[in-house]
Amino acid sequence: MAEAHPVGFQWVMEAKRRGAKVFHVDPRFTRTSAVADSYLPIRAGTDIALLGGVVHYILDNELDFREYVVAYTNAATIVTEEYADTEDMHGLFSGFNDDNATYDQASWRYEGHPQDQTTRDSETQRETAAGLENESHGAPVGGETERDETLQHPRCVYQILKRHFARYTPEMVERVCGIPQEKFLELAHAWTENSGRDRTGMLVYSVGWTQHSVGVQYIRTGAIIQLLLGNVGRPGGGVMALRGHASIQGSTDIPTLFNLLPGYLPMPHHAEHPTLDKWVDSIAHPGQKGFWGNARTYGVNLLKAYWGDAATADNDYCYGYMPRMTGDHGTYQQVLDMIDGKIKGYFLLGQNPAVGSAHGRAQRLGMANLDWLVVRDLFMIESATFWQNAPEIETGEIVPERCRTEVFFLPAASHVEKEGTFTQTQRLLQWREKAVEPPGDARSELWFFYHLGRVIRERLATSTKPRDRALLDLTWDYPTHGPHAEPSAESVLREINGYDVATGRPLASFTEMKDDGSTVGGCWIYTGVYADGVNQAARRKPGSEQSLVAPEWGWAWPANRRILYNRASADPDGNPWSERKRYIWWDADKSEWTGYDVPDFEKTKPPSYRPAHDASGVAGIAGDDPFILQGDGKGWLYAPTGVLDGPMPTHYEPVESPVRNPLYRQQANPTRKVYTHPINTLNPSPPQEHSDVFPYVFTVSRLTEHHTAGAMSRNVSPLAELQPEMFVEVSPELAALRGLSHLGWAHLVTSRAAVEAKVLVTDRVTPLRVDGRIIHQVWLPYHFGFEGLVTGDSANDLFGITLDPNVLIQESKVGTCDVRPGRRPRGQDLVDLVVDYRRRSGNLVHRYPPMVTTDVADSSSDQEA
C-alpha cells in the first residue's frame, strides 16, 4: 500500500500512531513492510490457506463476535443435507459436473429452499461473468430460512464452516504458505484481539488478490473473517479494495464491460432474457426480499434514458433494441478471436494491452490481424506502434509490409483539459474542473464518442433497416459549447442521475424512480449525485471544517453513504455496540436512524420490525437485518448460490505451481475458465510431469514511480528518471544457485516468452520452505515496454491466460518460470529458446493441466475423512 497507494497509506500510519498494529503480507518486502509491526512473506497464490488458517483459529478458539455473528450473518442458517464438503471429496464440493467443469449449485442451498428456477445455469454464469452483477447486491436467495441460533445443528453454516476449515491448522499454513507458525499465530492473535465491541480491524487488499484463478474466493475468505469478527458495516472495519486506476470503480459502476449495464444490471442474454419481463424477473426474483426487488424500476429508467420518447410501456421501453450475449465476450476471448481473424475493428481508450494485459504476444499478434485499430491516448504507446516496434518484428512474426491493420492514433485530452467525474476506490465521485483547453487535435472521449455517434446517426438518417432503429431512436442531444463543440459533461451527469420526465426535475434518490416511464435515470446507484440540480460531486467543503466522515466532500454512491451496511454498527436493538465505535444508531425519541453517516437502512424502520410471512422486496427485511441487498438480509459466511467455485473458499494451487496441493488432491480451481488455443500454452504443474522445467515462482506488481502499462509514467521525465530500467528482484540464495550477479542481466523463460531484466540481488525476496522443500520466488515490475523515455521487456509477456470463473479476470499475479543468467537471445534464437522449453516440458503439442485431479493420490495430507 505504501508503494502503490502512498497517500492512502498515510491513514494506516495515523492508525499506527494511535496504537493500531499493522501486519503486512506480501511475497516481497516493500516500503509497507518496512513500517509494519510485522511482515509475513508468503508464497504467491496461497492466501486462502493463510486466511483459512485465521478462520480456523477463530472457530477453534471460539473467538468470533458471537452476538454479531448470530444476528447479522447466516451462521445459524441450516443447509440442505444434500450438501457435501471438500473435506469428503478431496477438494471438490457436491454437484461437480465433469462434462463442463461447473457445479450444479442446487445441493448448496439452504434447507427448505426450492432450487431457484430463474438462476442461470453455472456454465452460463461463468461465460457471462455473472459474479460481477453482485458488486451491488447479493445473489438471489429466498428470505425464509431455518435457523439454529445455538449454532449447534450439524448442518448450520457455523458448523459447516468449522468443518470445512478444520485442516487449515497453523502447521498447514506453514506448510502451504511458507509462513512460520509463530508469525501466523501473531497475526491471528492480533486480528482477533483487535475486533469486537470496542475495536475493529480492517483488511486492505490490492489487485494482487483479484488477478488469480481463485481471486473472488480470496476476497470471500477475507470477508468471512471480517464477518466472524464483526468488522463489517462498522467504522475502522471492512474489506478495503485498493483499486489501481483513477476511475476503475466508475468504469465498473457505469460499465464499459460486455456483461453489465449501468448499476450492475446484466446485459441481456439471448436465451435467459428474451423479454423485458424475463430480464427483470431474473434480477428481481419475484417474491424475494431486499432492495433489488425494484429491479424493474431501475431497468425501465435506464431504457428510458437510452431511448427517451421512443421507449414506451407498449414496446417494453425498447428492450428489444438491446444486443444479446450468447456466452463469453470478454477481452481475452476477443483477443483470441482477433488472432483467428474474427474481429474487424478495435478501439483502445487510454489502455495499453500490448504491455498491460496477460500474454503480450497474443495481444500484439491479435492487433496485427485486424482491419482497423483506433488508439486514443496521450502518448504513442506500444499498442499503437506494434506494427513498427514490437518484439515480434525482430522474430519475424509481424512484418510491417504484410500487416494489414489500419491504425488511427487520435490524441486524447488529459485530466485537466476536460471536466467530469472520477469514482475513486471508496465509491466516491469527485468532479474535476477543466483548467485549460486540450492542445492541437487532442479531444476528450466525451467529444469523440458524442461526435462519432452524431456522424453515424447522420449517415443512417434515411435508413429503414430495423437494426438501425436503436441508433436513430437513441437520445443523443447533449448541448455543446466552445470552439470544438465539446458536449456538456454536466448534462450527461444529469441524465445519469435521472430526472422527472414531465418537469425535468432531477431526482434526489433512486427511491423516487418510477417504473412507468415517468422518470428517467441512466444509473440508479448514482441517483442523488445531481440532487436539487446541484452537482454534488463538485462539493469541496474543506475536510478540516467537517466531521471525520466528511459527507460534504464529493458524493458517494449509494445515497452519499460512506460506509455500506452501516446498520451493523449498531446492535440488534439499535444501540451502538460501544461508545468507542458509535456510528449509526436508532433514536427512539425521534423514531429514526441517525448518526454520523447516511444510514444504510430505511430511515424509520425500527429495530423491532418483523416482516409478515409473505412480505417481499424491502418490506421483507427485518429491523435487525443490516444486509439489505441480500435476499435473507444476512452477511454470508457461506454462499448458498452465486459463487461458481464453491459456497466457501478452498485453497487451490495456482494453475502454474511447482507444488502439489498439500491440502487436497484437487490441485487447481476445478471450475477455472480455460482457453484452449494454440497460442495459449501453459506450463505443466503437478501432478503433471515436467513441472521441474519451470521450477521458480514469479510474481509482478507496481513500483511507486510507475503507473500500470507505463504510458503515463515512462513518458514523464521525472518518473522515468526515478525508475529507469526493468529489473528483477532475486534472493542471494537464488542468485548463487543460478549464477546471477547484482546489476548483471538475467532472463526469465515460460512457455510463452522470455524476458530479460537487470538483476537486483536483495533480501527483499526470500526463499520459503514449502511442504518440505525450498521454493524460490522472484519479483518483477510490469510497467515496461518498448516505447517511451525508458524501455524494457514486458513482464506480462510471461503469463498465459487462465481466468477466475466468477468474473473472468486472469491469473497474472503468479506463474512458474525458469531463471537464467545473461540477456535473452534475439530474433529466431528467442523463438527457438521458448520452443525448446516447451519441448522439454512435454508441451510441444498442447497439453492443458487436467481440470480434476482427485484421482491422483499423491497429496500426502489428503486423508480420507
Partner: protein, 189 residues
C-alpha cells in the same frame, strides 16, 4: 547599506530576535528567495481537480498562467489526501505538459511502414465508415432458434478505467445502440 539593515541581513540576528527561533522559516530566507513569488500566487486561475493516476483520488489544484498549466499541487482541503501527492501525483504537471504528448492525428495505412498525418475531421469520418461497415458485415439478427441477437461481434473496445463516468456512460450507450457488445476495460484485467 545602514548598520541596522546590515545586522538584519544576518540570519542569526533574525533568528534570535524574530518570530522564527528555530531558523527554519523567515529567519533563514535570503534576499534572493525573498524576491521570489510562488507560481501559485501569480496564476490567472486555479481549477479543483483530482489526480489521474491511482484510485485513492487525491485532490489537486491546477494553476493556470497565460492559458498554460503552470503548477499542479495537492489540495489541502481534501479529506482524503490533506494536500499530499505521491511521486506520480506530483509529476502530474510533467504529465500534462510532457513534450512527448501527441497533439496531432497520426495514421498508418494497411501494410504501411510509416506514420502519416490526417485531419481530425477526416479521421472521425473514416472511423465512422469503418464502424458502419464492420457492423454491417458482421451483423447478427437472430440466433439459430430465431431468438433476437441484435448485435455485432466484429467490433471490440478496451478502456475506461482512466476515463470519466460521463465518458463511459456515452461509450456504453452508443456501443449498446450499435449492437457492439464487446467492450471491456481494466476492471476485467
Amino acid at each position: 547599506m545602514g548598520v541596522r539593515s546590515w545586522f538584519e541581513g544576518w540570519p542569526v540576528y533574525r533568528q534570535l530576535t524574530g518570530t522564527d527561533p528555530l531558523g527554519r522559516g523567515a529567519a533563514a530566507k535570503s534576499d534572493g528567495s525573498r524576491a521570489l513569488t510562488a507560481r501559485t500566487d501569480t496564476a490567472d486561475s486555479m481549477a479543483r481537480s483530482v489526480c489521474p493516476y491511482c484510485a485513492v483520488g487525491c485532490g489537486q489544484r491546477v494553476f493556470v498562467k497565460d492559458g498554460q498549466v503552470s503548477q499542479i499541487e495537492g489540495d489541502p482541503d481534501s479529506p482524503i489526501s490533506r494536500g499530499r501527492l505521491c511521486p506520480k501525483g506530483s509529476a502530474s504537471k510533467s504529465l500534462v505538459t510532457s513534450p512527448l504528448r501527441q497533439t496531432t492525428v497520426r495514421y498508418r495505412r494497411p501494410y504501411g511502414t510509416e506514420w502519416e498525418n490526417l485531419d481530425l475531421d477526416t479521421a472521425l469520418n473514416m472511423i465512422a465508415d469503418r464502424v458502419l461497415a464492420a457492423r454491417d458485415e458482421t451483423w447478427e439478427d437472430v440466433d439459430a432458434e430465431g431468438r433476437p441477437l441484435n448485435r455485432t461481434l466484429g467490433i471490440s473496445s478496451l478502456g475506461g478505467a482512466t476515463l470519466d463516468n460521463e465518458e463511459n456512460y456515452l461509450i456504453k450507450k452508443l456501443f449498446t445502440a450499435m449492437g457492439a457488445l464487446q467492450i471491456e476495460n481494466q476492471a476485467r484485467i
